[in-house]
Amino acid sequence: MHNKSVAELSRELESGKISSVELTREFLDRIKAEDKQYNSFIAVTEDQAMADAKAADEQRAAGNASVWTGVPFAHKDIFCTKGVATTAGSKMLANFVPPYDSTVTANFRAAGAVCLGKTNMDEFAMGSSNESSFFGPVTNPWGLSAGEKRVPGGSSGGSAAAIAARLVPAATATDTGGSIRQPAALCGITGLKPTYGRVSRYGIIAFASSLDQGGTMARTAEDNALMLNVMAGFDPKDSTSVDRAVPDYTATLNEPLKGLRVGLPKEYFSDQLSPAMEQQIRNAVKEYEKLGATVKEVSLPHAKLAIAAYYVIAPAEASANLSRFDGVRYGYRCENPQDLNDLYTRTRAEGFGDEVKRRILVGTYALSAGYFDAYYLKAQKVRRLIQQDFINAFKEVDVLMSPVSPSPAFVQGANTNDPVTMYLEDIFTIAVNLAGVPAMSVPAGFVDGLPVGLQIIGNYFDEARLLNAAHQFQQVTDWHQKLPQ
């Protein structure tokens, strides 16, 4: 059962072939037996999951089931779950038990899905390798058979690794600069970052509020559509949530792709991309041509400035958001504070990890007197130029295609010496967040036995078209069905 998709599991439950209690037991047993080698979960909520499974079976017997009723899944540990510790991968929140649910977790609860636990992540979602978690690094299931411990990508590396290892069929994730797409690519699964404002941020522990967006991870595009159906929608509790009708994302999955106009941004097929990676992406684009798409080169002339703009805007917003962690109202507090300032400064020195502190310091610097115009305002102006590039491109084409990452999963520890080397890992994903458009990562081949992700970028609120394009690709390829040994 653990190799089946959400859609398949839902049908098995509906037909009565298996109960949610049995299914939940099977996945919990797999996590217990296998997750020691991956460390993809921070917490497994076994008792709650079994109780929810029992309730789901009763609901189904009573004829009140949704697609998700009784289907196991997991939440990235950045979504607040009422009564269950929510840590954001940080010592600062290791003991934080939220008194409320995020809108996303409440939606999955209402749909009857069974949450098995909380998945590991880079601390406060700051990272591209899942090595900055207070709860230890996550190991990618791919490459382990060759005796190599590779990163799963980040920051949603726990969700991606758990799905790749078949410990859960689906998991929630968030993406501020590539944190859904890059781990999805490195772990050989399918992930979607929706348009900014499409999924409520209420109860998602904030990193950079003008960039953060909750999204989906699963093996198939169809399962991503089923997740987005539950997650998307207007939420008055999120001031940047968009009040706009939500389509049924599964309804258009089978539309033919004939006439789809695909653009290849030339800046994303640059020297940073290895020839072997490029070959896989070009092969994937050829499959789209076979499906009836037309392909042309386009330009995003300011894309090369995306990382620079991002590393002003994201740390600046993070420095403001993370100022709330003061050791007073919840979370970590240092021992024996001498005075109020000692309480603040030692709590934050001891509670935050190195990467989080670096970003808070950079952000504070960029916002401080004398530097605001040169850094923050300048970065926001460049952000406008980057957005305009996408607006112009989408006048000519329906979707953009590119690699997700410049190389496949790297070995743990390879990029931890210099933060800037790690930042360049997101070179193809960050502009999307600055513009706020939606994008997916779809399994599209292998290099040296490691998965490669194809990035498909869409216009604002064009998630249905992305899912359609990914689903059609998955009808004629089987990259998403490959299993790590």
């Binding site: 404002g197 940047t240 002003v312 030692r346 310091l361 504070t364 970065a379 102006k381 957005q387």
Partner: protein, 95 residues
């Protein structure tokens, strides 16, 4: 781009993060490298470009001025490090 020890110490005070002496040399390197990366922005011509703070250029939504939340002080304070009589406790500020 380099960042001085004095700048780092000043920013750490603003950010309320205590730094130990031995952390500063590595931070000079790391923050200097990050700021060098960020300095690419200078090359961009942004004359007459409006800053973008929200991808959809949305403005703050207002709601009716009605009571929508009930008081949950006990639930919120149950997870606090130290409280007394419904108040959060911090070290003495005024002698």
């Amino acid at each position: 781009m380099t960042i001085s020890r004095e700048d780092i110490e000043k920013v750490a005070v603003l950010a309320r993060i205590r730094l130990d002496e031995e952390q500063i040399p590595a931070l000079e390197d790391d923050l200097g490298n990050i700021l060098s990366l960020v300095d690419q922005l200078r090359a961009a011509d942004t004359d007459n470009v409006e800053p973008l703070s929200h991808p959809l250029d949305a403005v703050q939504r207002l709601r009716a001025d009605e009571v929508t939340e009930t008081n949950q002080r006990e639930a919120f304070q149950a997870i606090a490090p130290a409280t007394e009589d419904g108040l959060y406790l911090v070290p003495r500020v005024i002698e």
